[in-house]
């Protein structure tokens, strides 16, 4: 009887003690998930273009913080944003050429543009210039390819064009790994 009481006492004591430690740890040592989501939101472009499949940047950030979405799920954010997000949530992104699509920018087909200014009102980064019944054009330096203008255009005058490498931006591709290495 005393032995059982001793055992119950010991386990109980242990349980209480460890529980207290865990409780304290949970109180003082944890990082609330919301913090990370907020930090991720700060890194994302914030135009709510929904190319990631979520309603907006806030929802996508929450999903990334919870591990429901990949850190590189934001196409307009580009490779550098993906890298920063990955670092923030502690995931390592492999930087490879193979899976990297060329970045794109919006381009206005001047034959089709009717000058309705709807794209201008949609553009989150003020990358489109133009006026009512005047030709619109995209400033490629300011465009980050969220695609909102393309969806808005009533005449399909906006096309997303790939940004081709130039002599100033070209770099060597990753060397092909030898067969034997790949097999091993």
């Amino acid at each position: 009887m005393t032995q059982a009481a001793q055992a119950i006492g010991a386990i109980g004591l242990l349980g209480t003690g460890l529980g207290a430690v865990l409780g304290v740890a949970a109180r003082y040592l944890s990082a609330p998930a919301d913090d990370r989501a907020e930090a991720v939101v700060a890194l994302l472009p914030g135009s709510n273009c929904a190319q990631c499949g979520f309603a907006g940047c806030k929802q996508a950030a929450a999903a990334i913080a919870d591990g429901r979405a990949a850190p590189n799920c934001c196409p307009p954010g580009g490779a550098s944003t993906a890298q920063q997000v990955a670092e923030l949530i502690g995931v390592r992104l492999a930087a490879d050429d193979a899976d990297a699509a060329l970045p794109t920018v919006a381009w206005v087909d001047e034959e089709r543009c009717i000058g309705c200014t709807r794209c201008i009102r949609k553009c989150a980064s003020d990358a489109i210039v133009g006026a009512v019944k005047q030709m619109h054009t995209v400033l490629p330096e300011a465009c980050y390819a969220c695609g909102l203008c393309k969806a808005e255009c009533p005449t399909q005058a906006i096309i997303m064009k790939p940004v081709l490498p130039t002599l100033a931006t070209w770099h060597w591709p990753k060397p092909a790994t030898a067969q034997r290495v790949a097999a091993g």
Partner: protein, 500 residues
């Protein structure tokens, strides 16, 4: 003179004898010249001629752009037939803006700045000499093509006491500097003295690798007149011709990885650059030609050729008897640091030190096998890096990891790839990684700018919405006030009426 130990490096088989005994020959001006508007490090030059215009030999056709840039001149007289995108002598095979000149055969000089023929001390200020060098479009002719005037300007930013003249020519096959030192030693020394004067350098050291005894002799002879010039023989070891390493060897000063040699008080110029400076000052001639070594087992008659800039490589090869009927790899520059030429239509530019046609027997390109961690690349690396570790990280895609252990300090000399018994293209991996890291940096800067734009727009729209709201409230208040006033007026009228 005391020499200092340089880290790493490799011993190579040089094969310089293919062309080292053939004197420099002048190639006739080809029918058409293709002169790219960017042949230098920095921003491209802006075209200042029009299609259809006649240009004289040495006439400015591209004015240096913003920041670091260089002028470009017509290499012969003739008509500009096009200013268009043409294949660049670059491994990407991409095009670049090029001025096409149809030669008129007269090779007539345009009006040139007046020559300064007086002996030392020169009747020109260092600033004037710098301007002359900049106007002549002179860039580093060793291969890096860094604008020379920018380097001479370093004295106004750092305190420079030493001018090192690079005659190391450590790349195999290449013999253009060797021949130039033997044949134009006086012009080179004159250029060296001009640069020494422009920089106000106390010490001038001309460093030549030990495998060029004839060049050393010729340069010693020519430099006897000036006591401040020392001609030094440095050990034959690749990459002795790297500016940082040469400086280390002759002065013991180590340049930090991400800095220029000027920050440790020295400027390094190539021997061919010195000769171009002499030509620009003594004769007023801009840089319109250079000596190129054409060599390799695939070339019929290896030679050192003085070529007009813009000459297509195919014309140059034809001048050297053409290619032998064996498969060859065309290289622009030396075999260690040069890169494959994308096309024989690509032109010779300011940075072209060699055009090599290498046959299979000359290329160290065996089948790749796994890394055996022998560490040969570590001892060969002149930058003190650990290629074996960096390449593992890059293979896994961990570029940040590779960056953390110094991949960006790689000088792309290729010593690691050369020494690797498993034929792993290490230098190629580092070029890829550093290119990709630069891409990421560029992208980050761009994203940063765009985020600022988005934020300003958000703030602006918020302000506008608030202003609208405030206006609506004000309107409402005004309406209410007006209504109240009207009511009050009505009431007072009423009272007036009743009182009346």
């Amino acid at each position: 003179m005391m020499l200092f130990q340089v880290r790493g490096g490799v011993k190579l088989s040089y094969r310089k004898e293919l062309s080292s005994e053939s004197a420099i020959v002048r190639m006739p001006v080809p029918k058409r010249l293709f002169i790219p508007l960017q042949q230098h490090v920095g921003s491209p030059s802006e075209p200042v001629v029009e299609v259809g215009q006649w240009v004289g030999k040495g006439q400015l056709i591209g004015r240096g752009g913003r920041g670091i840039s260089a002028n470009v001149h017509a290499s012969t007289s003739g008509t500009v037939t096009a200013i268009e995108e043409r294949v660049a002598p670059h491994p990407s095979g991409l095009n670049q803006l090029t001025v096409v000149i149809e030669a008129d055969g007269e090779d007539r000089w345009a009006e040139l700045p007046s020559p300064i023929t007086a002996d030392f001390p020169l009747p020109a200020t260092p600033r004037e000499l710098n301007d002359r060098v900049a106007a002549a479009g002179i860039v580093g002719l060793g291969g890096a093509a860094f604008p020379s005037a920018v380097k001479l300007d370093m004295r106004y930013k750092y305190s420079i006491d030493t001018l090192v003249i690079n005659g190391a020519e450590c790349e195999p096959y290449i013999t253009c500097d060797d021949r130039l030192m033997r044949e134009a030693a006086n012009e080179i020394v004159d250029g060296v003295r001009i640069m020494g004067y422009a920089l106000a350098a106390e010490h001038i050291i001309i460093a030549i690798e030990a495998n060029k005894p004839k060049a050393v002799k010729a340069m010693r002879e020519a430099a006897r007149a000036d006591r401040s010039i020392q001609v030094v023989t440095v050990p034959t070891r690749f990459p002795m011709g790297s500016a940082q390493h040469l400086l280390m060897a002759v002065t013991g000063r180590e340049t930090p990885a991400d800095k220029r040699t000027a920050e440790v008080g020295a400027v390094v110029h190539n021997v061919a650059t010195a000769r171009a400076v002499s030509n620009a000052v003594r004769r007023g001639e801009p840089l319109i030609s250079r000596v190129v070594t054409v060599s390799g087992f695939g070339v019929r008659e290896p030679a050192n050729v003085e070529v007009r800039l813009g000459t297509p490589v195919e014309d140059l090869l034809a001048f050297c008897g053409g290619l032998l009927p064996v498969p060859t790899l065309l290289i622009n520059g030396g075999p260690m640091m040069g890169a494959a030429l994308p096309s024989v239509h690509a032109p010779v530019v300011k940075g072209t030190s060699g055009v090599l046609a290498l046959t299979a027997s000359e290329i160290n390109d065996g089948p790749q096998s796994p890394c055996i961690r022998c560490g040969k690349c570590v001892s060969a690396c002149p930058a003190g890096l650990v290629p074996v570790e960096m390449v593992q990280l890059i293979k896994r895609g961990d570029l940040q990891g590779a960056k953390a252990i110094g991949s960006q300090d790689c000088i792309s000399c290729g010593s690691c790839s050369y020494i690797c018994p498993s034929h792993i293209p290490l230098a190629h991996y580092f070029s890829f990684a550093n290119g990709k890291l630069n891409d990421l940096d560029r992208d980050a800067r761009r994203q940063h700018r765009i985020r600022a734009l988005i934020q300003t727009r958000n703030e602006r729209t918020a302000r506008e919405a608030e202003a609208k709201k405030a206006a609506a409230v004000a309107r409402k208040a005004a309406k209410a006030a007006a209504a109240a006033a009207a009511a009050a007026a009505a009431v007072s009228n009423e009272t007036l009426e009743t009182s009346a």
